[in-house]
Point group: C2
Amino acid sequence: MFKVNTNFQKLPGSYLFSTIAKKVAAYSEANPNADIIRLGIGDVTQPIAPAMISALHSAVDEMGDAKTFHGYAPDLGYPFLREAIAKNDYQARGCDISADEIFVSDGAKSDSADIQELFSADARIAVCDPVYPVYVDSNVMAGRCGTYDEKSGKWSDIIYMPTTAENHFVPEFPKETPDVIYLCLPNNPTGTTLTKSQLQLWVDYANKNGSLIIFDAAYEAYISEDDVPHSIYECTGARTCAIEIHSFSKNAGFTGVRLGYTVVPKDLVFDGVALHGMWARRHGTKFNGAPYIIQKAGEAVYSPEGKAQIKEQVGYYMNNAKTIYTGLKDAGFEVYGGVNAPYIWLKTPDKMTSWDFFDYLLEKVQIVGTPGAGFGPSGEGYFRLTAFGSAENTLRAIERIKNI
Amino acid sequence: MFKVNTNFQKLPGSYLFSTIAKKVAAYSEANPNADIIRLGIGDVTQPIAPAMISALHSAVDEMGDAKTFHGYAPDLGYPFLREAIAKNDYQARGCDISADEIFVSDGAKSDSADIQELFSADARIAVCDPVYPVYVDSNVMAGRCGTYDEKSGKWSDIIYMPTTAENHFVPEFPKETPDVIYLCLPNNPTGTTLTKSQLQLWVDYANKNGSLIIFDAAYEAYISEDDVPHSIYECTGARTCAIEIHSFSKNAGFTGVRLGYTVVPKDLVFDGVALHGMWARRHGTKFNGAPYIIQKAGEAVYSPEGKAQIKEQVGYYMNNAKTIYTGLKDAGFEVYGGVNAPYIWLKTPDKMTSWDFFDYLLEKVQIVGTPGAGFGPSGEGYFRLTAFGSAENTLRAIERIKNI
């Protein structure tokens, strides 16, 4: 008699962004003429830039010709892309990462959900609170998080590291030593980050305690300050304690194109087992490579034209971030983030809960944001707005909020 | 202190096709002038047909224009594709499957590896022997298969259902009742299949025993005989016991394009839990949709032009299958498959082991096939050749084998 994986039933409600989509759809249906501005989900709005479009067209042509057709991609990615990544994202920054330590995938969401397959069933994980919900949910599905307490919003077996205004968004080392530490820096949702010397302390901590760090660098392209690391491998000793996950979604607008990569250094060895070989086996068994045409678009991201075009696009969004940050500050809100990340994190006014503030904004001014509580218990009382809208809509949204 | 998932270490050797690739690379390096013909891995060689190339180009253009740009796809697939699938692959065949029971993915390999996340940790799985290795390996990685016995080539907790020449490739109901039954029909690697009335017996068996059937229909487009079902939902009662997995790799040549889908009927409920909701949650949490441009190519597969073009391509490969089947038969081999599938399954001559025959063919006539033992213990003494080469190479390969 078949029995289901009961861990799924432990998950409270639906995935955060599905819930938001449903609420917005319901509002939209009830108010068909409402002019809704979406600054909620971290989805980009600018089109794919010309260098990548051109690479896509060329690759499509190759696929239509027997002489240049490409079947199954190499499981771990085409060498042309792995080499471009190693050279541009690592070696150019002085990080000792080679092409065969890069694993190309269909996106950072898949990788950050799947990486827990390498952990023992009883691994204790630590997450910043608030944080991207996929880290927690993927571990819950694998039965690694104990039971959920509705009241506190916490899982019994997860170690939470609050990152709030009170500690200036710098998590403290937890009392209990975690086996795995998830760090998303620049952080989603708070838009804050750590300096290189602050991150070095975490690398030292992990090496001392035999912990594994999962470092999510999805927002790296938005870093504007000099002392903020673009990669954890800028820190000494990270090769023996850290896996790094990257996305092409936010730097190159690939949310609907799907491309990402994960770095597993060969020095990452626990109890004699190299995680590099394990992740290669995982890819080989459960994945059949990212599409050729999309890997070619990824390669174009590192061309001189591609680099210039995505820099301009990131600049466009960061200008929106400034508009939101400044506008909200002028309107009297308590605001964070927005300097090294496309996210603005604000305190809800009048001690409203974050879901109440979500409903309030949607109903009063037809603006969709993301309730902080959706990212963890310490996100309660906060709210996330993203800089990924159009400049025009971002300005209109801020005007509406100012005029409430 | 971090500990790894030790189930990975239980897996013997590397993934089958990685091992083959390494052996061929080594031979190729030692014999740089060797004219190797690859009839091993099931990868297509014909280019993507014009209707799909045209859809890809149009979709790329859309992605380059702000007015038509597409960001994150709906988690479960674009409605245009889900509807085309439901209509053409199901409703047109009289199967009661609706668009919202179709889950679009990046390929059948991912889905067939990930589907086990829905099973309880102690689920007993049954597989045909020989079979596509991903079913077993993905369950091993989840700790569901016990221990591996080198000598028998079997896992202690897997129920094997031999499908060999002795039972005319029709598996018998196992002595022990399985929780999950994997059926790949037409079968990879044997190229054989079941008639509709034979499959109906499995559906009845599953419903009677509360078992779940995972039905892999990746080779459905190659069916040429009338009494062979294209979908398990042609059988009465399949909606309450079966999940079906589909690929665009073999019908439309999408091995390097990556697209697939899985059908989870809403009537599939165990102990009050609907698997439809679980798989939706799995997709929502761990996957971000297949790329828009590739879903548009998938839609084109169902256009009148697309249908005609892929039919021609399937015909081309089936002509190869006939060449291989007839040629080997003429040369005195014992041969199976090739009628409803692009795979030819042959008995190795002189009781050679399947890996010995692999080496023999590679060294004597520079032909790459796949050793039967790589698909399970009952595959020993057999060998798989695929019809996915070019017509010219297929003819040359058969001439070489005939002349040994």
